[in-house]
Symmetry: C2
Subunit: 332 residues, 2 copies
């Protein structure tokens, strides 16, 4: 009898996540009831938002319960169907979480065309991270051609799309990333105009050099000192989309933002957002993203861990910035 | 020959403003040239924004130059006119600054009707501070009936209008002010639902008690610990209008805002604004404000210092929160 490996939340982390916060179990594969489908997951998406779910605090989403399968987006193949909307062999995205198989009535499960792009892209550049980039940049920041757009975590799944979309819109795109290799990739392969290596120890002066005309739009994934450095370079009427604050997720003491006054002085609009709040924007975003990927205008990179049992370690690496582009776990 | 007493900026403050940063001089009253008017200023408005102008740093407005007359709004009477748009006896608002007389071609000078309300009201509730309250609350925060609106510096010129307008729109209005006397005034005379005395030493718990349903809109005048306390109580999709950060204007070390992450978690919109950026909103705002004052729906209080020579001390008192309502200097 086939078993379904699952990763459960064993305990809530205090500060940094450790592998001990997770528990791997093997359970029987579910039998789909009438109206249900069974999906063999091929890829699991690992995303920073998952860290927030692990806390026992008020957040934008329901918290991850202890001893339940970790939440997460998946892409896989329908291997059994008792639902007329799906047939065996369909490639589908879903939110089946950290497990090898998913069984459900198909709500929130979407068929995707994996004939032209690999199915994994639907967890990244043509999926939630890509839509997040599109919404935060185009709907919230609304950059005009010629403006300077800065994005932190620039080599990540979201950040790499933000900068490339900014370039497509005629902006100067400046990334912030950790390490020379990521910065070289962002500039040389993705076509950003510049990239600041925040680990080089000259954040303020390097950011100043990279943004000679100041900053009009900032797509925030990181927070902490990087946020303060960016705020110092903002122009009047600049816009900041707050998508993530990954530097804070494992911090036991929150960083104190010292340049908040720039929001007043420069009449900045700061908008926190979660892409799932803006479902009406997914169809136009996904259309743009698929077009751009198909025509080679939007590039992406993946870091793939192999086997579900490697997911906890890969997730901790993601939180530490060890991934390069979209972090996936290949399950099959 | 009549003399025109003026207050000049003598030196830029480091940290707290002192009276030594100002210099009082007596100069001959100007003779209006063809096309000009001469105005005897009756009241000078003192406002927190003036502190920012005294710094030698990038700000939203041109900085105050050394040895020049301090900037400021005034209301007074035309005593000589060589401009057909004005006649002797007209009561006018202008930006003649910290001096007894103003002489100009009339640009930016507006006639007001002082027959129904005292002319001083045009520097406060029916002037820049009132419009600031209207714009920040109604245009930026856009509160809905039943929502909770919090405003800091609640007994001040801007804050007292914010809470009263919130009540007119069917909201729960909660003030934050320094001391029991101000809080009593805000609740008992202005009709706020509650007021938190931040000097009482129980800011977080008192704010929690005053906002049982959380906070939907925050009109920020103060910053610092009060901002952190408010951010902890924000609801999903709340809005924050950043009008001022008076706690920071004389600080040598900026306060570190520790709860920035609430902006993400609660998808908050934070918007810094300056009322002079939104000139299109002044006419509807002034009409509302004049109507509300005339019908007794909008009350105001003034603290009046007497004589231009008292302006520096009164201004320092304003920055320390010693005023009660709109701070004016009576010049005649």
């Amino acid at each position: 009898m086939a078993t379904n490996m699952q990763v459960l939340l064993a305990s809530r982390p205090v500060g940094w996540v450790t592998e001990e916060n997770f528990k791997i179990v093997n359970t029987p594969v579910a039998k789909p009831a009438e109206g249900q489908i069974l999906v063999r997951n091929h890829y699991l998406s690992l995303d920073p938002y998952m860290r927030g779910r692990m806390n026992d605090t008020k957040s934008y989403a329901a918290k991850q319960e202890i001893d339940q399968v970790m939440v997460g987006g998946t892409v896989g193949e329908v291997i059994e169907s008792k639902n007329p909307k799906f047939k065996v062999g369909d490639i589908v995205t879903g939110a089946y979480g950290w497990q090898q198989y998913g069984c459900s009535d198909g709500t929130g499960v979407n068929k995707v065309d994996a004939s032209k792009v690999p199915m994994s892209a639907y967890l990244g550049v043509i999926g939630m991270p890509g839509v997040t980039a599109w919404v935060g940049l185009l709907d919230i920041c609304q950059p005009k051609a010629g403006e300077t757009v800065v994005v932190s975590a620039a080599s990540g799944a979201v950040g790499s799309a933000v900068g490339q979309i900014a370039k497509l819109k005629g902006c100067r795109a400046v990334g912030i990333a950790g390490g020379k290799e990521k910065c070289d990739y962002v500039v040389n392969e993705l076509g950003f105009d510049a990239c600041v290596d925040y680990k080089a120890g000259r954040l303020n002066q390097d950011l100043k050099a990279a943004t000679p005309d100041g900053i009009d739009c900032y797509f925030e994934n990181v927070g902490g000192e990087i946020l303060d450095a960016v705020l110092k370079r903002t122009n009047a009427f600049s816009r900041i989309a707050v998508c993530g604050l990954i530097s804070q997720y494992n911090a036991t003491e929150p960083y104190g933002v010292k340049t908040f006054q720039a929001i007043l002085t420069n009449r900045i609009k700061v908008q926190g957002f979660i892409v799932s709040d803006r479902l009406n924007l997914w169809p136009p975003a996904l259309k743009d993203l698929a077009d751009w990927v198909a025509t080679g205008k939007l590039k992406y990179r993946e870091t793939v861990a192999h086997g579900l049992e490697s997911a906890p370690k890969a997730f901790i690496g993601l939180l530490k910035g060890q991934n390069f582009g979209k972090q996936l776990v290949k399950l099959i």
